[in-house]
């Protein structure tokens, strides 16, 4: 068989394997891990992967590329002038600023400097990121189709603007399986006590893939995973006795033939093991002082972005395939200067620390780290341009992300935009290209990772996407 991924009736085949082979051999029941019976072609990379896992630091709301990574001196010079029609070229705007009687250009109030040997240009708001400039692959020419948050974030996460398709984490779970039998393949974490654009469980959901592939959300507190901890008053020893009794009861019914009973035993026993393995990974008390210093003072507080960054590293150490952090609050329609500074203070140090920490542990080589949001922000002002402040609207035509580790070229700034930061002038990369490139780095041919649903083979990249070879080391 030359197509290693596709099977004519994937869901039925998997159901069969789950019922018979996988369980009968007594493997675990994490649907997302390669059980022995499922040691089949599609759980094997298509080619040598450059990275074995990835961490996506998702900055939800649309960080301003103009104020962080893509400086525009001319924009500063022409501050206050009307956006030229020759630049806008009739492209649609949101209905938020689209009816404004004036669209004044607005320069960045922040200073940029070149950093590292690569000379990457990074804003003063991101000093820690600037310090690791030579480890970064900065892409200034990402673009998207959607102009509003919901379709845009859904597009980045699932390859389609319309909800219903599997998230990238679910695709990786389906395609590669779990890297650790006692932990999920795809894990999501949301910074707590942030406000801003809402998030949705479907952003890490399984879409039409079997629900075993859905991302599991890790949350701060007693229950890192929902329903994980035993109720107060019930000791671990008691729980063990209860599970032992259950094994006996199941044994009375069946001597090892019935796949359903085997499945029940395996999922119960894995639940028992998770009750240990997950608190262990979520407990940062064994992290040395210097680690908290590296990630910044927030990192001691559970639920913060910085704390989640440490957790992400611990998950990576344990082989978790895909970890995604969500940090809300980048949607600066107004009061950009103040709000953007706050966002950067919350994220800059820990993002950089994660890269450094992974590198120190020798994990950066095979861990892909991505920082970025769902779109960029306009070079014109939303609302009134006043001396006190300004805002920027959503901008899909260009935005910046950075990547690090896992086989991407470091010290590279890729792509460019025009002098007013509106359109891409070189090396455009669309969201499907990004997804294709990510899958490629993880050893997957994005055209071959398919799942048949409602009569059609779906892919993360729909019918689009190309691997951007220039980004690969």
């Amino acid at each position: 068989m030359t197509c290693p991924i596709h099977h004519p009736d994937e869901s039925n085949r998997r159901q069969f394997l789950a019922q018979v082979a996988g369980v009968a051999i007594g493997s675990t029941m994490w649907g997302w891990m390669p059980t022995p019976g499922q040691a089949v072609e599609h759980l094997r990379p298509h080619f040598q992967p450059r990275a074995r896992r990835m961490i996506w630091l998702f900055q939800s709301g649309g960080p301003s590329q103009i104020d962080l990574f893509d400086p525009k001196p001319l924009l500063n010079q022409r501050h206050g002038e009307e956006l030229p029609a020759s630049i806008r070229m009739g492209q649609r705007l949101t209905a938020m600023s689209g009816n404004q009687s004036s669209l004044p250009l607005v320069g960045s109030p922040f200073q940029f400097a070149t950093h590292g040997e690569s000379g990457a240009q990074i804003s003063e708001l991101l000093p820690h990121t600037a310090a690791i400039a030579d480890k970064l692959c900065i892409v200034r020419s990402l673009h998207t189709r959607a102009i509003n948050h919901d379709p845009a974030i859904t597009f980045v996460q699932t390859g389609s603007e319309i909800a219903g398709r599997p998230s990238i984490g679910a695709w990786l779970s389906y395609g590669l399986g779990a890297g650790n039998p006692d932990l999920p393949a795809s894990i999501a974490m949301v910074s707590q006590n942030k406000s801003g654009q809402p998030l949705y469980a479907r952003l890490w959901g399984a879409g039409f893939l079997p629900s075993e592939h859905q991302g599991i959300q890790f949350r701060p507190g007693k229950n890192p995973v929902l329903y994980l901890s035993d109720p107060d008053g019930l000791s671990r020893d008691m729980r063990r006795q209860m599970l032992d009794a259950l094994l006996d009861l199941h044994r009375f019914q069946d001597q090892g033939e019935d796949p359903d009973i085997l499945a029940a035993n395996t999922r119960n026993e894995l639940a028992w093991r998770m009750q240990t393995s997950i608190p262990e990974v979520a407990d940062l008390s064994d992290e040395p002082e210097e680690i908290f210093e590296l990630y910044g003072k927030d990192s001691r507080t559970p639920g913060t972005y910085a704390n989640n960054c440490i957790l992400a590293r611990r998950l990576a150490e344990r082989g978790v395939r895909f970890t995604q952090l969500f940090h809300q609050g980048w949607d600066q329609h107004g009061n950009l200067p103040g709000a953007l500074r706050t966002q950067c203070l919350e994220t800059d140090q820990a993002s950089a620390a994660l890269v450094v920490d992974l590198e120190r542990r020798g994990l950066l080589d095979d861990t892909l780290v991505i920082w970025g949001g769902e779109f960029g922000r306009t070079s014109y002002c939303q609302g009134k341009l006043t001396p006190q402040g300004f805002g920027r609207d959503h901008h899909p035509r260009c935005f910046t992300i950075w990547m690090a580790g896992g086989g991407v070229k470091d010290g590279l700034t890729y792509g460019s935009t025009d002098d007013l930061g509106y359109n891409i002038t070189a090396n455009p990369m669309d969201v499907h290209d990004l997804q294709a490139t990510i899958l490629h780095i993880l050893g997957i041919d994005h055209e071959q990772l398919t799942y048949k649903f409602q009569g059609r083979r779906y892919r993360l990249t729909d019918v689009h996407g190309k691997v951007i070879e220039a980004l690969l080391a």
């Binding site: 209905a95 019930l234 359903d260 639940a271 009569g455």
Partner: protein, 1049 residues
């Protein structure tokens, strides 16, 4: 029931029809539809199929005449001669350049498949239509060898197939197990143990039928059937998308429950939901049924393009219709011709035209709670009676006013004589504001009538030359704001007069309004706009479906001053809006005439020149504004115009004009009649406004044009398409209306090849856990073929013949010998038929998410059996809503914690986690079947979800209380409540030992027992020994994770 077929007859059939029995056609003829089309469709159609856009080499292999046509290098298929057929040559080419499909395409054809193609060509390469597009034919009952086993036709079809495969049916299932299986499948709940015992003791021959009938008659039947339909209908309690605001659609959910309980025939069930609003003399319930089509997600995200999302909704309705009723997936055809099924992109949009013709907006309101239109106000009978009463009062008051207006001429003459014929100086009464806009002092412009309420003028607005003195020049981005003025309801008459001067032609400009925003508030309020140069005025609850609006036929001239008056009479009718231009009443076109709901509640103040995210009156000027708290007379309008335009000349006044003015302004009798009318209107409005509203379908009088959209994009409209059904299906009959009603009738016509098959297949899926066509959402060429095509046809035709009787069909299936088989299975059978498609055994499926939770609640005695009503909020871990959207989840108190799971509040962006863990569908789009996974998360829920921990505690209490100091009896009782069968000795011993161990440990740590017993809101029973109770609770909790507790065997 045995069929009257004698053994001799079977022998004869055996001799005559060997092919039927051995299952292979004579001479191994290859079945195109079964064996060939799937290969071609999957591997070849992507480039050589129905999609013209993707077609390579102008070759299509879905059409015989093209596939066999001679080309420059030969014919792809030469019937009868595979070796000359280019297709075989290319499939077997060794050179990668020549090989088909191209190696990089990820679509390979295996050697066996090539052999099949070769033999098919050899046999003549016969093409045939896909089975599902041909009308079902009444099949003959197949012959079988075992004449005893079949009880009804279903069994004959199943047995015949089993015999062909060399398999024998399983033994009958244990009656208790069977009764439990039927109970869950039909009602979603376990049987009541007393009723179960009565059934087990009933040895009469129709005991089983009676059991099934009693389940079908239970009101819980409707609830259970509804759980399936809610998935198909993508039912939810929130809009989905982004901020995911909550909405009320539960009245539709209750309609579904009732429809199943009253056994509404399935053709009506479909018709009402597709076109209930269009039935003759449609009842409120028939209209309510159409909410089915409004259950899709909607957005209110700021800045979204309205049309982009309206298109999404129409597409969703089209796809849901296709998947739910036709069993076809049309998603591909949205962007291009379908690659596998003969569905053209054009046909997709032609079908969508049926669903686009409602007066809806692509965005629901962010700032108000208006129900998006079209909406239906829900009245019970009492309310209907009360409305009739109030409406009569309004009509009488209208009639009375009319009579008064025509009967006051004598009084008017008298009044006029008293005035001694002189023209009254103060002709304006009821003036709330008059603004000359001649100066700005302290950022205010004075109100000559009411100095307490001046206009607030932002610094950016300036004075400039006016039509009289100065005027205010607008920027389009800043509003002149008038606090304390203009707060009119839809029952209040009012008039606004002002002079305006647009600088240039305006596509859209807000002159004045009292509202919060444009699409972000559904425009709720009232407004005066320039649209494409025309003056337009509207009163709006939710644009466009709940509003009155008119637009002048003439355009306002740019670059000059125009006097405009917007007057409204409080009638909620478009004819009650009058526009006047330069002293004359303007000719208007009625744009909308359907105002049923409040217009207040949106805007905080009256404003001129700007609105949130709308187009302001950029560079426009305004001058001399009057606001009147009543309708205005023609005389007054003329005077307002005249005083400025022809100042110094005398205004001509005639008696009739003066009379009409007098009635409005002076005559107390007429004014009192008018006041009375307003009062009755307000009483009616107050009553109807308090009633719930729900989104439904309501056909627009004038059909909205539908276009083919290139690549499916809303902004790439192509040719116009008329409503039509896809060409692969039978055409709509001549004379059928090309609207949803015509579509519904076409759908349920007995000749339709899909509707009944799709419906009975889903009923089969409910009973067996899997359909005869396992891909119940896809009967197209990419779907899985039916395991028993003749049985499917038999059932479909029987269903139609029975009058689409759902309960009857389920009774047939559940009383079949096939269904009553034991689900036990040998390893060899498992290997031979792992998916149980041949049904050599009964069904064995994990319970649905709803069943798992409801079962625990029921066993514990906590379940609240109330049917219907608003959705409830059972226990949920804290923070799940908060961290996503900042909204707090506050669990219900009391019975809301213990209702059946189909009443659990469904928030789309954060669905109930336990339900998701047990594979519930997400309710984003239409789904006809769920996955069934087995994950440790499920074990954790059963172990630790407070709902289940509390249920274990209350189950323990229940069995302890009923057995009085007899742990063995208590455990046996709990066991039977959960697993549905009697406990075995070994099982009892294990559980007693567990209980004893835990009891000892809890005895050593009574605090632990206290904590363990404190989960959930149920009170502590002080009469029970806490230590014993804690131990028994642990036993019950353990049983929740027993495979048999959550499995139907």
């Amino acid at each position: 029931m045995l069929l009257p077929i004698s053994r001799a007859l079977v022998v004869i059939q055996l001799l005559l029809l060997p092919s039927v029995l051995c299952g292979l056609p004579l001479e191994d003829e290859i079945d195109y539809d079964r064996s060939i089309r799937p290969i071609l469709a999957d591997r070849c159609y992507p480039c050589h199929g129905p999609d013209a856009g993707a077609r390579k080499a102008k070759l299509r292999l879905d059409r015989r005449e093209i596939a066999i046509a001679e080309r420059s290098d030969g014919a792809p298929i030469v019937p009868g001669d595979p070796s000359s057929s280019l297709m075989i040559e290319r499939l077997t080419a060794i050179d990668a350049e020549d090989r088909m499909p191209p190696p990089e395409s990820n679509r390979q054809v295996s050697d066996q498949e090539i052999e099949l193609l070769r033999r098919w060509i050899e046999q003549g390469a016969r093409f045939d239509r896909h089975w599902a597009f041909k009308a079902p034919r009444s099949p003959e009952l197949p012959a079988v060898l075992d004449l005893q086993w079949s009880r009804q036709p279903i069994d004959r079809f199943i047995l015949a197939r089993l015999e062909r495969a060399g398999l024998a049916p399983a033994v009958d299932a244990n009656r208790a197990i069977l009764a439990r299986r039927a109970s869950f499948i039909l009602t979603g709940l376990a049987p009541d143990l007393e009723e179960l015992d009565r059934f087990l003791a009933d040895e009469s021959s129709d005991a089983w039928h009676k059991w099934v009938d009693s389940l079908l008659a239970s009101p819980t039947f409707g609830e259970q059937m509804a759980t399936h339909w809610l998935d198909i209908a993508r039912y939810a309690d929130s809009y989905g998308y982004q901020s995911d605001v909550h909405r009320q659609m539960w009245q539709w959910r209750d309609w579904v429950i009732d429809a199943f309980n009253s056994n509404l025939s399935h053709d009506q069930f479909i018709t009402w939901q597709v076109a209930g609003d269009m039935l003759e003399d449609a009842t409120p319930r028939q209209k309510l049924a159409t909410a089915f089509q409004r259950l899709h997600r909607q957005t209110n995200e700021g800045g979204s393009v309205e049309e982009e999302y309206r298109i999404e909704y129409v597409v969703d309705r089209t796809q849901t219709f296709s998947t739910a009723f036709l069993g076809l997936t049309f998603e591909c055809a949205r962007c291009h011709d379908h690659k596998f099924d003969p569905l053209k992109q054009r046909e997709f949009y032609a079908l969508s035209a049926f669903f686009s013709n409602i007066d809806e907006s692509g965005l629901y309101s962010h700032f108000t709670s208006a129900v998006p239109t079209p909406a239906l106000t829900l009245f019970d009978q009492t309310a209907t009676d009360r409305i009739a009463e109030l409406s009569t009062q309004v009509n009488s008051a209208e009639q009375h006013l009319h009579e008064v207006e025509e009967s006051r001429r004598d009084a008017f003459d008298l009044w006029q004589r008293q005035q001694e014929g002189s023209y009254p100086a103060a002709i304006f009464t009821d003036v709330a504001g008059h603004f000359s806009f001649d100066e700005i002092i302290d950022a205010k412009s004075i109100n000559n009538i009411d100095p307490e309420h001046p206009a607030k003028v932002p610094a950016s607005l300036t004075l400039s030359e006016g039509v009289s003195g100065k005027s205010i020049r607008l920027t389009g981005d800043d509003a002149l704001v008038f606090d304390g003025l203009g707060a009119y309801s839809r029952n209040d008459p009012f008039s606004i007069s002002l002079w305006i001067r647009p600088e240039h032609h305006m596509e859209r400009a807000v002159i004045l309004h009292r509202s919060r925003a444009w699409t972000d508030a559904g425009s709720q309020g009232y407004q005066l706009l320039i649209e494409d140069g025309h003056l337009s005025a509207a009163l709006i609850h939710f644009w466009p479906g709940d509003a009155i609006a008119v637009s002048t036929t003439d355009r306002i001239k740019p670059g000059q001053w125009t006097h405009v008056v917007f007057s409204y009479d409080g009638s909620s009718r478009a004819s009650g809006i009058q526009l006047w231009i330069d002293g004359d009443k303007a000719d208007v076109e009625i744009v909308r005439d359907h105002l049923r709901s409040p217009i207040t509640g949106g805007g905080p103040y009256f404003a001129i020149g700007e609105r949130f995210r709308d187009n302001g009156f950029k560079n426009g000027q305004v001058d001399e504004m009057y606001i009147l708290n009543r309708s205005i007379s023609a005389l007054e309008v003329r005077k307002l115009f005249h005083d400025v335009a022809d100042a110094g000349t005398e205004l001509a006044v005639n008696d009739e004009g003066l009379y009409r003015w007098w009635l409005l302004a002076i005559d107390e009798e007429c004014r009192s009649a008018r006041f009375e009318l307003t009062t009755t209107r307000k009483a009616l409005a107050a009553f109807t406004d308090s009633k719930p509203r729900i989104m439904v379908m309501k056909e627009m009088a004038t059909r909205r044009a539908t276009h083919l959209l290139q690549r499916g994009r809303y902004d790439a409209a192509g040719e116009t398409v008329e409503p039509a059904v896809p060409g692969i299906l039978p055409p709509m009959p001549d004379g059928a209306s090309r609207d949803r009603l015509g579509l519904a009738r076409w759908l349920v016509s007995p000749e339709h090849p899909l509707t009944a098959r799709v419906a009975v297949n889903r009923l089969w899926q409910i009973a067996f856990g899997q359909g005869i066509v396992p891909t119940s959402e896809d009967f197209g060429t990419q779907g899985v073929r039916p395991s028993h095509p003749q049985l499917l046809d038999h059932l479909a035709l029987d269903f139609i013949d029975s009058g689409w009787d759902v309960k009857r069909m389920l009774r047939r299936i559940l009383t079949s010998h096939t269904w009553m088989q034991s689900s036990g299975c040998s390893h060899s059978l498992l290997e031979q038929d792992p998916e149980n498609r041949l049904l050599a055994r009964g069904p064995s499926v994990r319970m649905s998410a709803e069943m798992v939770r409801d079962h625990a609640l029921q066993a514990s005695g906590l379940l609240v059996g109330k049917i219907g009503g608003p959705s409830v909020l059972p226990y949920q871990p804290p923070g799940l809503w908060q961290e996503k959207s900042g909204r707090t989840y506050t669990a219900s108190k009391g019975e809301g914690l213990y209702r059946r799971s189909l009443y659990t509040f469904w928030k789309r962006t954060s669905p109930p986690p336990t339900m998701m863990i047990f594979d519930a569908s997400k309710r984003d789009v239409c789904v006809t079947r769920r996955h069934r996974t087995s994950t440790p998360m499920q074990s954790l829920v059963l172990m630790n979800d407070p709902q289940f921990v509390e249920a274990a505690r209350m189950l323990a209490r229940r069995v302890m209380t009923s057995t009085e100091d007899d742990p063995a009896a208590a455990i046996s009782n709990a066991f039977r409540l959960l697993l549905g069968r009697t406990i075995e000795n070994a099982e009892l011993e294990t559980l007693l030992t567990l209980r004893d161990q835990l009891q000892q440990q809890f005895a050593g740590d009574p605090d632990a027992a206290g904590h363990w017993l404190s989960v959930g809101d149920s009170p502590i029973d002080e009469t029970l020994d806490a230590i014993e109770w804690a131990a028994m609770t642990a036993v019950c909790s353990t049983l929740f994770n027993h495979d048999e507790t959550t499995r139907l065997r």
